[in-house]
């Protein structure tokens, strides 16, 4: 299958649901090495996104329009570090998704743009214990899946799985970006909340494909 506008819209709904379901988990991760607001921030943001999406008079014409709505809504409702980072990720992604549906390569482009956006704003590289550590392996896996001819759903599924592994792999890392970096060595031993939420976001895209 391909990832069309209806899929993008389902992706948003699935994300909102998954984030809400994992609110306390994300908050707890952030309480351990941050300031305990990541769950609430993301729930507030995606609740607003869903409200905006559902209130649209006309359905979005392109995947990019959906992603842009997510971008601007997250930017204006999330705050904190996650707001601008996710906002920029979706904004950059929206710019390479001015299509009615994404194929495998299209998914790769979207994920690459998202990663670039996060890195442009946050200046983090892999291994600094941030959401970048979920996105980098996601992009790599997506590229590999697309190269071997995967369709959008397959590419996305590969990315989501890699993101989940990437998030888990943040546990032993010592943070050098974001709020967890203030803890120095004490940040090791905990999963990064932003990487965890990134994995949830991508997993929601897979659920959206399966539901499609």
């Amino acid at each position: 299958m391909t990832a069309d506008v209806a899929w993008a819209s389902r992706w948003v709904h699935e994300t909102a649901q998954s984030i809400a379901d994992h609110r306390d988990e994300l908050t707890e991760l952030d309480r351990q090495i941050g300031d305990g607001d990541h769950g609430e921030n993301m729930v507030r943001g995606f609740r607003a996104v869903v409200a905006k999406l559902d209130a649209l008079e006309e359905p979005p014409a392109t995947v990019g329009e959906v992603l842009k709505l997510v971008a601007t809504t997250l930017m204006s409702t999330v705050g904190g570090a996650a707001g601008p980072l996710y906002g920029t990720a979706y904004l950059r992604a929206s710019k390479v998704a001015d299509v009615t549906e994404l194929d495998g390569k299209g998914v790769v482009a979207v994920l690459e743009a998202a990663l670039e956006g996060v890195q442009a704003r946050g200046k983090a590289t892999a291994g600094e214990k941030t959401m970048v550590d979920a996105l980098v392996p996601a992009v790599e896996a997506a590229v590999a899946a697309a190269d071997s001819g995967g369709d959008a759903a397959q590419v996305f599924a590969a990315a989501a799985q890699a993101a989940q592994q990437g998030a888990e792999a943040t546990v032993p890392l010592v943070a050098t970006k974001g709020r967890a970096s203030y803890l120095g060595e004490r940040s090791a031993g905990h999963e990064d909340p932003g990487a965890a939420s990134t994995a949830l976001v991508l997993a929601a895209g897979v659920a959206a494909s399966e539901a499609g």
Binding site: T27, R31, G34, D35, G36, D37, E40, N41, R44, M75, S76, T77, V78, G79, G80, A81, A82, G83, P84, L85, R121, G122, T176, K177, G178, R179, S181, Y182, L183, G184, R186
Partner: protein
């Protein structure tokens, strides 16, 4: 969790409503998006000052809006930076034609959201300069961290830059004085207890009854290290020494000493800390010529304190002494 709150989701809005009602002679609120400005609006021809950040640090920042200090303040959710769509209109509202200085505490979230907001405000034709405060010596090296945090020293930056704006300095000059304050101010803090973010409902960290956290930030984060509870004089030394060392204080220098409460510590204890911090400074030959003791940059109901030292010169002292009329600081 025991708090004087209704639905935690409304905590910030209700608190701001109360604040604005109590101080209607000083501040007016704008809602949706929410921010507060000085009554009477921007002063034509003078530089405006805007600050903001997560809520939970009251009286920072809204308590410092008023003549001689901030033009506008932008509150985020508790411990969460506000969003550009709040910050941009605040920047626009603060502009009296002479440009606006944005004072941003150095946290990834605050920096990023202000960055976007400043871009948007500039696109509307407002000249904006930004000063990022980073006075927390507990965070040492920006190679290994997001850089030093902006903590209680931010009050000094806001007060002194506000006075510079009030006397009519242009934007470059106000920004320069703000940077000068930031370059000469250092802080370090201690937590005796954690704090509880309303929507989280449990303490930000678990601390045994006989341990304290040294080198905390202002967001309920644990500190750099956990140590056994110690007498106030010893704790004060653990805070003051790195502050004074990092400042490179030399004998005979004049300083401002700020002992800031984290929200849940009684004033009487802050004065015990002040007493020892002052002794230690005097032991180093520094001269404490200005002082401030109280809850200015807090972490909800956290028990603890921070010690801030600002190196003064004639200009900074004069600007510190200049009149200020805000809800939380007034002379």
């Amino acid at each position: 969790m025991k708090k004087l709150l209704n639905d935690p989701a409304n905590a910030v809005v209700e608190s701001v409503e109360g604040f604005v009602a109590a101080h209607a002679d000083i501040v007016e609120a704008h809602d949706d998006p929410i921010f507060g400005t000085r009554v009477g609006g921007a002063v034509q021809g003078k530089v405006g000052l805007v600050s903001g950040g997560g809520s939970g640090h009251e009286p920072l920042h809204a308590g410092f809006v008023g003549v001689g200090m901030l033009s506008a303040a932008v509150p985020g959710a508790v411990f969460t930076s506000p969003t550009p769509d709040q910050i941009t209109p605040a920047l626009l509202a603060a502009d009296g034609g002479a440009g606006v200085l944005a004072i941003v505490k150095n946290y990834t979230g605050d920096v990023l959201n202000f960055e976007t907001a400043v871009e948007l405000a500039e696109a509307e034709g407002v000249e904006v300069a930004t000063v990022v405060t980073d006075d927390d010596v507990a965070v040492q090296d920006s190679l290994y961290t997001a850089g030093r945090r902006g903590v209680a020293g931010t009050v000094c930056v806001e007060k002194i830059a506000g006075a510079a704006a009030e006397r009519g300095d242009d934007l470059a000059a106000v920004a320069a004085v703000a940077s000068k304050v930031n370059a000469n101010v250092r802080t370090m803090g201690v937590a005796l207890t954690a704090c509880t973010v309303p929507h989280v409902g449990k303490p930000s960290f678990d601390l045994p009854d006989d341990e304290i956290e040294i080198g905390i930030g202002i967001h309920g984060e644990p500190g750099r290290r956990r140590i056994p509870l110690a007498p106030a004089d010893e704790i004060t030394q653990m805070l003051l020494d790195p502050v004074a060392d990092d400042l490179g204080l030399t004998s005979g220098e004049e300083v401002l000493l700020l002992v800031n409460g984290m929200g849940g510590t009684p004033l009487s204890e802050l004065y015990v800390v002040y007493r020892q911090a002052r002794k230690l400074l005097e032991g180093r030959g520094a001269v404490v010529v200005r002082s401030l003791v109280g809850n200015y940059v807090t972490s909800l109901e956290m028990q603890g304190a921070s010690v801030t030292v600002l190196r003064l010169d004639a200009e900074l002292t004069e600007l510190w002494d200049a009149p200020v009329h805000t809800a939380a600081l007034r002379w």
